[in-house]
């Protein structure tokens, strides 16, 4: 494998958590629910995913359980901000803290303080027949773990669902103008609740990916800010799956290059490279806000009988 192929494949692998967490953020956001609990839900997803697959011995079950717990957090966000009309930002932050705390607690309760660090099998590489034999592309794209393919499918699927179907048109109308959607008989609260729930599940899977692909174990700092970056990435991608996917690749490439600099002997100090994703995010946020279209009712609750809005 050439150096380029190695770097490209590492980038593809590193893209997944960004992509899934951002798609989850986007899905809820397009219906108007703006989550800020990604970081927490990802840590929780990592913890639950790791613990279940450690206990049961199956990564698939671990991923499914992580998704279920993430869905519950998304459901709470959706329900609290529609049925109870509580502030989205406050609830999101509360859920972030709750999820972070719960993640650490679960790990300590189940694993205890024993000295030996438990390990799980990382996800195996699945070589897609024929496609994986294409030179370069085959190695980079078609001999990866299951979640790489899953993330790509989610991105493509969401694109078609949101921008090519009537149901997607209805969903986006809820985030653009809930009053208009409501007046046309689209169930605003139900739409918001299910998108927030599905979004939470995707974020948790993004978290579960980390122990299952990288470390084989759980540590509290395992997510390392990827959840917060996912928010920035969603804005960067203009709340559209195709641009979010491109942005996720860019963020991942930054990660990989910085990591390489740390171990290899690149002329630039690795500390400088490690800062690059954050500086890039900052620049992107400054410039993306000029052109990126944000759902008009992002983060704003809807009350049918309110005359204040």
């Amino acid at each position: 494998m050439t150096e380029f192929e190695t770097l490209a494949q590492l980038t593809v692998i590193a893209t997944v958590p960004y992509l899934l967490a951002s798609l989850g953020t986007m899905l809820g956001g397009l219906a108007g629910v703006f989550s800020v609990s990604q970081e927490g839900v990802m840590v929780l997803g990592a913890s639950v995913g790791f613990l279940v697959s450690y206990g049961v011995g199956s990564n698939t079950v671990g991923i499914l359980c992580a998704a279920g717990v993430g869905a519950v957090f998304g459901l709470v966000l959706g329900w609290a901000t529609t049925s109870l009309r509580l502030d989205q930002f406050v609830i999101g932050l509360a859920l972030f803290f709750a999820a972070t705390g719960l993640a650490g607690l679960l790990f300590r309760v189940v694993v205890g303080q024993s000295g030996a660090q438990p390990l799980i099998e990382t996800l195996p590489r699945l070589e897609i027949p024929l496609l994986s034999e294409i030179p370069v592309l085959g190695t980079v794209l078609f001999s990866n773990n299951l979640l790489v393919y899953f993330a790509a499918l989610v991105a493509v699927g969401l694109y078609f669902f949101l921008y090519r179907t009537r149901a997607g048109l209805d969903l986006r109308a809820v985030g653009e103008n809930p009053k208009a959607a409501d007046s046309l008989g689209i169930p605003v609260a139900r739409t918001r609740i299910w998108t927030a729930t599905a979004g939470g599940a995707l974020m948790a899977v993004a978290g579960a990916y980390l122990p299952m692909v990288y470390t084989g174990t759980f540590t509290e700092g395992i997510v390392g800010g990827r959840g917060w970056l996912a928010i920035a990435l969603t804005f960067f991608g203009g709340w559209r799956p195709q641009f979010i996917a491109a942005g996720a690749l860019f963020f991942a490439a930054m990660d990989v290059i910085a990591l390489r600099a740390e171990v290899g002997n690149v002329a630039i100090p690795s500390q400088v490279l490690l800062v690059v994703p954050y500086v890039a995010t900052l620049l992107v946020m400054i410039f993306a806000f000029r052109w990126a279209r944000v759902p008009a009712f992002l983060g704003r609750n809807y009350d049918r009988e309110s005359r204040t809005a």
Partner: protein, 537 residues
């Protein structure tokens, strides 16, 4: 065109014989302590345009929102085709063949016309292409021309209005409710809308036309129901009534004093007639309070909006500023109120130069401002009526004790003010945005007047207000004038200007292009000036 059609069977008060597509009875709805609807009833006949008129807060829109499932009534029954129904959401209403075009266009600006029309009908057969064809078909049949593939935010207000009607027709509505559909339309667009409505009812659909513009209601409706104070007062047939009759029913006790003001507010008297009736008001000798010279101001995009403007207003004088919207009115109003930066030139009040000074200085110099967009610029919607009345005076020593705000005094003052200006509110602590348009304007005026201003700047102060509230505004302006205030009244309504102004200037492209003294307000001459034809040209 568009006069009422031949009389139908049945007398005016009861519905014509035959199918009754809709009847509502005993509908009651409260918002907090405000009773928006009190035992209201309403009946609609097949194939009629039914006018629903009344002042601000009379309950017209609330009643129709109940019908459309947007508001849940506290009591009351709704029958569609004689069958009692429960409308819990717009989805139910659409299922019953009820469609509503709201006063504020409910569209997704970033969607195309087709997308806006089909949204919410998912499960409907065929792709967007099929929908496009159906929309084109409906457009043709009812004369609602619009390009289905155009992006909605690129369309004119008139075209967006047509999209709203298409939305309703696309869903197969047999009862179409239009809430003040003509507010932002040009006269030509209003004519076209009326022609389309005639086509729609010709096919057996019924239309409810909510409005407070008497002239339009008389032009299009077959029957007219008048609402006041949350109930239906009466229903009359078009041919049994006239403008004065409907106006009288709308305003109630004010009907007794069918004064020139009311007529002028309705636009029933031509410009000039009102002016000649009103007594001359002597201002010639009084002192100049407001002087504006060489005023240059930019608009929001940094483009010059006022170009060396010169005006002077005396104590006890009302200066009317006429002109077509977009010729610098907003910028003039904001510059005179001290909320828009003055690029160059001077604004003095009682000899004090204010240009370039902080807004607080303008306030303490006695400048009061009644903005055009009262919801956006006049109030803090989510703050209480009390807070809104305090706003701007929060640093005044009258409301301070030991360096802090004296809330007891503030509340006392709010209660007195609410009383004196008859602001209809559930209470001093209710959010200001919950008040009706007329009452929000009363609040804004109350705040301005309680400060005893020396200069009062008003822009389109009666837009969207009913007769009673309009009258209230006029009375307050005259009161301020009589107290020696210098009033600048910026308005697009020539009737209003003719009624109140002692002198009128015409604003065109950021400059004063002409001036007329009271008694010389000729609508045609003013119209030429407003169109930019210079007097000396």
């Amino acid at each position: 065109m568009t006069t009422a059609e031949q009389p139908r069977a049945g007398d005016g008060a009861s519905a014509p014989a035959g199918r009754v597509p809709l009847s509502m009875s005993g509908v009651t709805k409260s918002f907090g302590a405000v009773k928006a609807l009190v035992d209201a009833d309403f009946e609609l006949a097949a194939g009629e345009v039914h006018g629903l008129v009344g002042g601000n807060g009379a309950g017209k829109t609330t009643l129709m929102n109940v019908l459309y499932g947007l508001y849940r009534p506290d009591a009351g029954t709704i029958r569609v085709d004689g069958q009692e129904v429960h409308v819990r959401s717009p989805r139910d209403a659409i299922g019953l063949g009820i469609g509503m075009v709201h006063q504020h266009l409910l569209q997704v600006p970033a969607y195309t016309v087709v997308e806006n029309v089909v949204v919410g009908t998912s499960g409907g057969s065929g792709g967007l292409r099929g929908a496009s064809r159906r929309i084109a078909e409906l457009s043709d049949r009812f004369g609602l021309s619009v390009d289905p593939r155009a992006r909605t935010d690129r369309l004119s207000v008139g075209a967006r209005q047509r999209v709203e009607i298409l939305k309703v027709l696309y869903r197969g509505a047999r009862i179409v409710v239009l809430d003040e559909p003509t507010t932002n339309l040009t006269p030509q667009e209003v004519d076209a809308l009326f022609a389309s409505l005639r086509e729609i009812v010709a096919e057996g659909t019924s239309v409810v036309f909510i409005s407070h513009k008497v002239r339009e209601v008389l032009a299009i409706c077959d029957r007219i129901s008048v609402m006041r104070d949350g109930r239906r007062l009466t229903t009359v047939r078009r041919e049994e009534t006239d403008a004065a009759g409907v106006a009288g029913l709308m305003v109630g006790e004010l009907a007794a004093e069918q004064s020139t003001e009311v007529a002028a507010a309705l636009g029933l008297t031509p410009v000039g007639a009102a002016a000649s009736d009103a007594p001359e008001h002597p201002v010639a000798g009084s002192a100049v309070r407001l002087t504006v010279s060489g005023l240059e101001v930019d608009n929001d995009h940094g483009v010059p909006a006022l170009d060396g403007l010169e005006i002077a207003v005396r104590s006890g004088e009302v200066l009317g500023v006429a002109g077509v919207a977009g010729n610098g009115q907003v910028e003039l109003a904001e510059a005179l109120a001290g909320v828009r930066p003055v690029r160059s030139g001077s604004v003095t009040v009682d000899g004090t130069e204010l240009a370039g000074r902080p807004t607080q200085r303008w306030l303490s110099a006695g400048v009061a401002y009644v903005p055009e967009d009262r919801h956006r610029d006049g109030i803090l919607g989510a703050a209480s009526v009390t807070d809104n009345l305090l706003l701007g005076s929060q640093r005044s020593s009258a409301f301070r004790r030991a360096g802090l705000i004296d809330w007891r005094g503030v509340r006392e003052h709010a209660r007195r003010t609410i009383d004196r200006y008859s602001i209809r509110t559930p209470g001093p602590d209710a959010p200001a945005a919950n008040l009706s348009g007329g009452n929000i304007q009363r609040l804004v005026l109350a705040r301005a007047f309680e400060r005893e201003p020396s200069v009062l700047v008003l822009q389109n102060p009666t837009r969207g207000l009913d007769l009673r509230s309009t009258r209230f505004v006029y009375d307050r302006v005259e009161e301020a004038r009589d107290r020696g205030c210098a009033v600048v009244l910026i308005s697009e309504d020539l009737d209003e200007l003719s009624l109140l102004a002692d002198r009128m200037v015409v604003l065109y492209s950021g400059q004063v292009v002409g001036e007329r003294a009271r008694g010389d307000f000729d609508a045609y001459a003013l119209g030429r000036l407003m169109a930019g034809v210079r007097e000396d040209a």
